[in-house]
Amino acid sequence: MKFDLNNPRILALTGVMTALVFALTRPIVPTPIGYTHLGDVAIYFTALAFGPWAGMIAGGVGTALADLLSGGYAHFAPLSLLVHGLQGLVVGLIYRQMKGSGVGLFISLLVGGVIVVGGYFLGEMLVPIWGGPSGAVGEVWFNVVQVLVGSVGGLVYLGVLRAYPRLSQMGE
């Protein structure tokens, strides 16, 4: 199916997946910069199950909304929009290109993780309102943990596929 937000089915799916990312990007463990959460799990799931466009929108918009309404980290929203949007897009593209294989799953999770860690590092390094070099350096390790936690998304995707076979029909 063509990705067209005018189609109620695609609008509903994208909206709900964005909501899922937003809801799971709730702080579990606050860290000095930002917080640890399960949002990446939902981004990986969306990108793996529904492809790059849904992954991009849900990842970018979902995390940006979570930042905006977090009370304090709101101005990080544009950075999250870019980084997690790119994460969803690339994970979806790679997994689709590799025809949904196990290796594809592993590589896409890995690349997705690199994008998140690298993206936040570069963004904070280069744009002064996001904390500067100290922020960038300080946050790397938190983001590594974050990405490791998020890679549970691969397991979750396989779990949903097994438990809810209709997923494979829903497509994009």
Binding site: P8, G159, P165, R166
Partner: protein, 566 residues
């Protein structure tokens, strides 16, 4: 005007690729402009899918394929583009989570109008008219949707559909999950709508009191026959999934074919039986002698108070004690504190004031995991709480966490599967089951934990009578084996049939705590709490016969009536 010709629907099997399951087959019917068609059928007969198909949304937004033709006011709904019918066919689904997604009541109604491109200046009038037509007061306009009660939300969804000024209104199970009080208010709204407008209505619901009051004709989806609503009774006698009144009278008629009763609604049943000369013994039966030794206490609650926001009390000073082996029904309107109470038993909520003791131990000192070994807790909407790849794994989850030995585990799982008739499905993914089977799967996964106490939050909502009876049989067996049961429900007949004690909550207070006969006779408390009398008791009162009230099961009632018919 709706004409349906030779309509069949198949959907892809959730378990095997490239096979199709037939949902309904070769349906033909017609609904004239301004008339109302009722649709009844057991779980899985395709009521929801038929509603969606008539609106032109299934199979295109769901999955499946159809044959046959549907014309609504001379347009073929399956050919027109999706969404075309928004201002011709209004649709209100059973599940409101997909229907209400705006902040305030007025935004909710305006949303659809915006899609039609209605100028903003014309909106307020339309919104007000729609609100009034659905039986909601003007004062709600600015209220957040989430503040409304379940019944009000249902009527808001109807208002949002009516605002688009459709010529057809399709309602899928509007009474689902509503308290008896909310059901009757909804019924009044629909009757008024029929009187005051020329709307064509399709009403899919198994509440026969509602259907006979609103519909002109009724379609039985399991066998495809249509009868006019006056003679629905003849058609339902053989069908076990219908109303309490019908099930009682079907027993009477089956036993005494010479006597013809053509009644159906509770009201009518009472009116007709009033003429029956009662010859039975009108003395209340002697109560069974109570056990001499004091029974062990399963749950003890003293002065329990809880508030979610620190201002409004969800529970206020609740005191009660439940002995081991008692079957307790908990009744009350939506938001009365029933769930809040039950959540204390498993430690999901901790008492802010007062004490909760479970099997003699202070619940505040036990973890949720420790309490889970004592109390099997079935949440509301348990059918949505499923995650395993096979039903067997799903059932193993609970007992596995409780550390059952392999032998006991296998035994518990096998027994649970058998109890709910799910053996054939054991190795299939439960999330793909039909609604009723998912509910049964959730119940079976709690049953396998073999806890001494069961707490169930509306386990029978949305189940037809046959499935309800299955749940009832499981609970009575559990009870017979010495288990303690706390059952939250809106199904009065179900409560009256199985429970030996009734608790009624009203705005956080426990206002009634008595045996069912006494509890349901407490008219003022029932009205205040939005609780209705069960059919058998209403009948007993109408006949002014206390003996009938001694046995509130349909069998008891039927037996008694048969005695009276001599």
């Amino acid at each position: 005007m709706i004409t349906v010709q030779r309509l069949s629907y198949e959907h892809p099997s959730p378990f095997t690729k490239d096979t199709w399951d037939t949902l309904f087959h070769d349906l033909s019917f017609m609904v004239k402009s301004g008339e109302c068609l009722g649709i009844v059928g057991p779980n899985g007969s395709g009521k929801t899918t038929l509603c969606l198909t008539l609106a032109g949304l299934a199979p295109r937004l769901t999955s499946g394929r159809i044959q046959g033709q549907i014309r609504v006011f001379d347009r073929d709904v399956q050919v027109e583009p999706v969404g075309w019918a928004a201002d011709i066919i209004g649709l209100v689904m059973q599940d409101l989570t997909g229907q209400l997604f705006n902040e305030t009541v007025e935004d909710e109604i305006a949303w659809g109008l915006g899609n039609l491109g209605l100028p903003a200046a014309a909106m307020p009038d339309r919104i007000r008219n729609a609100l009034a037509a659905a039986g909601l007061p003007d004062g709600l306009l600015k209220r957040p949707v989430t503040d409304l009660s379940g019944g009000e939300q249902k009527r808001l969804a109807i208002a949002a559909a009516l605002a688009l000024q459709p010529r057809v209104l399709i309602l899928d199970t509007p009474t689902g999950g509503l308290s008896p009080l909310a059901r009757r208010i909804l019924q009044e709204s629909l009757i008024r709508l029929r009187r005051e407008t020329n709307l064509t209505i399709v009403l899919a619901d198994n509440d026969l009191d509602l259907l006979t009051a609103v519909a002109d004709q009724v379609l039985f989806l399991d066998d495809g026959i249509i009868v006019d609503s006056a003679s629905v009774y003849d058609a339902v006698v053989a069908k076990p999934y219908i109303s309490s009144a019908a099930s009682v009278f079907s027993m009477v008629v089956n036993a005494r074919s010479d006597y013809s009763l053509t009644c159906l609604t509770t009201e009518e049943a009472i009116r007709q039986t009033a003429s029956i000369p009662i010859v039975g013994d009108c003395q209340p039966p002697v109560a069974a002698p109570s056990p001499v030794e004091a029974p062990q206490v399963a749950i003890e609650v003293a002065h329990l108070t809880y508030s979610y926001d620190g201002v409004n009390r969800a529970l206020e000073a609740v005191d009660l004690s439940i002995p081991v082996g008692q079957f307790v029904a908990i009744l009350g309107d939506n938001g009365a504190g029933k769930t809040t109470f039950a959540k204390h038993l498993i430690g999901l909520l901790r008492p802010q004031e007062g004490v909760v003791r479970v099997m003699g131990k202070d619940a505040a000192r036990l973890s949720i995991g420790q309490l889970a070994a004592q109390v099997g807790y079935v949440f509301q909407n348990s059918e949505d709480q499923i995650f395993s790849a096979t039903l067997r794994e799903e059932i193993v989850f609970g007992p596995g966490n409780l550390g059952f030995s392999p032998d006991r585990l296998n035994h518990a799982v096998a027994r649970s599967l058998e109890r709910f008739g799910l053996e054939a499905l054991a190795d299939l993914p439960p999330a793909a089951f039909s609604f009723s089977n998912r509910r049964l799967a959730a119940l079976s996964s709690i049953a396998a934990m073999e806890t001494p106490i069961l707490a169930l939050d509306e386990p029978t909502v949305g189940l037809d009578r046959e499935k309800q009876a299955l749940v009832g049989a499981w609970l009575s067996e559990w009870h017979k084996n010495g288990g303690t049961i706390l059952l939250i429900t809106h199904e009065m007949d179900f409560a009256a049939r199985y429970a030996e004690r009734v608790l009624v909550f009203d705005r956080g207070r426990l206002i009634v705590d008595a045996c069912p006969e006494a509890a349901f006779s407490n008219a003022s408390a029932l009205i205040s709490a939005g609780v209705e009398k069960p059919f058998s008791l209403a009948l007993a009162e109408a006949l002014e016969c206390a003996a009938l009230a001694g046995d509130l099961t349909p069998e008891g009632t039927a037996c008694f009536l048969l005695g009276g018919l001599k």
